[in-house]
Amino acid sequence: MLRIQNLIKRYGHGEPVLRGLDLDVPGESVVSIIGASGAGKSTLLRCINRLVEPTEGSIELNGLELTHLKREELRKARRRIGMIFQGFNLVDRLTVMENVQCGRLGYIPYWRAALRKYPAEDIERAYHLMERVGIAHYANKRADALSGGERQRVGVVRALMQQPEILLADEPTASLDPVSSRQIMELLQTLSQELSLPVLINIHNVAEAREYTQRIVGMRFGKLIFDGVPADLDQEAMDAVYSGTPGEARQQAESGPAHSPAVVS
């Protein structure tokens, strides 16, 4: 259960990017966050694991208040939050297995990390997850030898290795081709059910959001202005979320992945 209350984020002395945002994510639901570029979607996700420091408000994950944690406590809390990135953010020169084991870095001692002597159960778990997403045969390949869709799978497995209590995905499909993009969305949806894991996805592709998630949240200028099931997201709601943005960008967001990979950022 993730509970965000009155979250405010201001960079420097400028206008706030998040203006008193409230959001509850109970149980194992997949939630899409949609909104125009600059609406504050990325900032919202990064506030949760404090890659970005929130200015005000409260973020609670399964009863643990995240906003006031000190360094070491924050490090421990971050182990419980998996994150998937638009650019995959893998270490190119390391093998797939090493990249995947990065998800365990918060748990294992330094010498094990340095010598690559990972605990047997971590290796077992890594193979299990890699088999689940179809990249086990790449274990010894360098990460930069893989295609985009495969690299994002490595990113997903790395996050799952943390045994997280929640998964944050920041535009996980925006750098992918339409087919890989749908595969990753499908994967996130099924993994959420299998592992009973809440997943929060920032996404530009509204068609994919409708298809693969049970709940859609619309952001505009740092606030939630829509919250409902995909069926509730009618033309009026779409206008409210995207109005003021160039018509082209919206059209692209609306049309399915068959027409375009919907990279609107």
């Binding site: 890659l51 994150m83 953010n89 190119d92 990065c102 870095l105 990390a113």
Partner: protein, 267 residues
């Protein structure tokens, strides 16, 4: 249709003011060169004499004297070892300095300033001057040479490695921070792999440079083949000098070839 006459349109690449500036600049440069030539005291007869001297020296050097070959080869090995040991130690010493001298990894302003100060002071002093200093401290010999080369190398290696650290891709660092990894582990997994190629390339390059520098260390008594060379010149044993020079050339060429081959291997 009326046409403007040619004289009505004028065009000049430079305005009069620009022209004066250019002229003055050239005048200043010319004056500096003239002054430099005037002020140094060249003894012209010695210059006109040079071709004859070259012929004479060459005559004395041929054929090279190889009777001392054992001693010369041994000095070459010593030279090689000075370069290798100094490079090896300098690489390890330069790592923490590169870490604190890079803007994105340094813990605070003071350490950044400290790191840069170490790099600048190491780099601004020539190896031979470091060698003079350490010969005075440790006495003549190999140790002074090794430490001199080490001191000069730390600045070179630290500077280039620090720049490599500053140029890394930030995104994997962010991703590993998000997993709850400690700072030390983020460095180990996200920064070290990214600077590894530069690390090897720079290390090999410095070894190559150090090999050449260690051949002259002997001139100030800091070990290596330079000691024998100095001795041979002092005793006017020109045929031995010829052998030593040929040996140095062979060593440097071999070193360069090895360095090129290694660079290809690691990158």
């Amino acid at each position: 249709m009326t046409q403007q006459t040619v004289a009505e349109r004028t065009w000049a690449r430079y305005t009069p003011q620009q022209r004066w500036k250019r002229f003055l600049t050239m005048l200043v440069v010319a004056a500096a060169v003239v002054w430099a030539v005037e002020s140094i005291d060249i003894i012209w007869p010695w210059v006109w004499d040079a071709p004859a001297q070259v012929g004479d020296l060459f005559g004395r050097m041929v054929p090279p004297d190889v009777s001392n070959l054992r001693a010369i080869l041994w000095a070459l090995v010593e030279t090689l070892n000075i370069a290798t040991i100094a490079t090896f130690v300098a690489i390890f010493l330069s790592l923490p300095i590169a870490y604190i001298a890079a803007q994105n990894t340094t813990p605070n302003r003071f350490t950044l300033w400290l790191g840069r100060f170490i790099l600048v002071s190491s780099r601004s002093v020539n190896t031979l001057i470091w060698a003079l200093l350490f010969v005075a401290i440790f006495g003549p010999g190999v140790l002074a040479g090794i430490i001199a080369i080490m001191f000069r190398s730390i600045g070179f290696l630290g500077k280039l490695l620090g720049e490599a650290i500053e140029e890394i891709d930030r995104r994997p660092v962010e991703a590993l921070e998000a997993t709850g990894a400690s700072r030390a582990k983020v460095v180990l997994y996200a920064i070290v792999p990214q600077v590894m190629p530069t690390f090897f390339a720079v290390g090999i390059l410095r070894w190559d440079i150090n090999l050449r520098e260690s051949t002259v260390l002997g001139l100030v008594g800091a070990g290596g083949i330079g000691v024998i060379l100095q001795g041979a010149i002092d005793t006017l044993a020109w045929q031995t000098v010829a052998t030593i020079l040929l040996a140095i050339i062979a060593l440097v060429i071999l070193g360069e070839a090895l360095a090129a081959w290694l660079r290809k291997k690691v990158i």
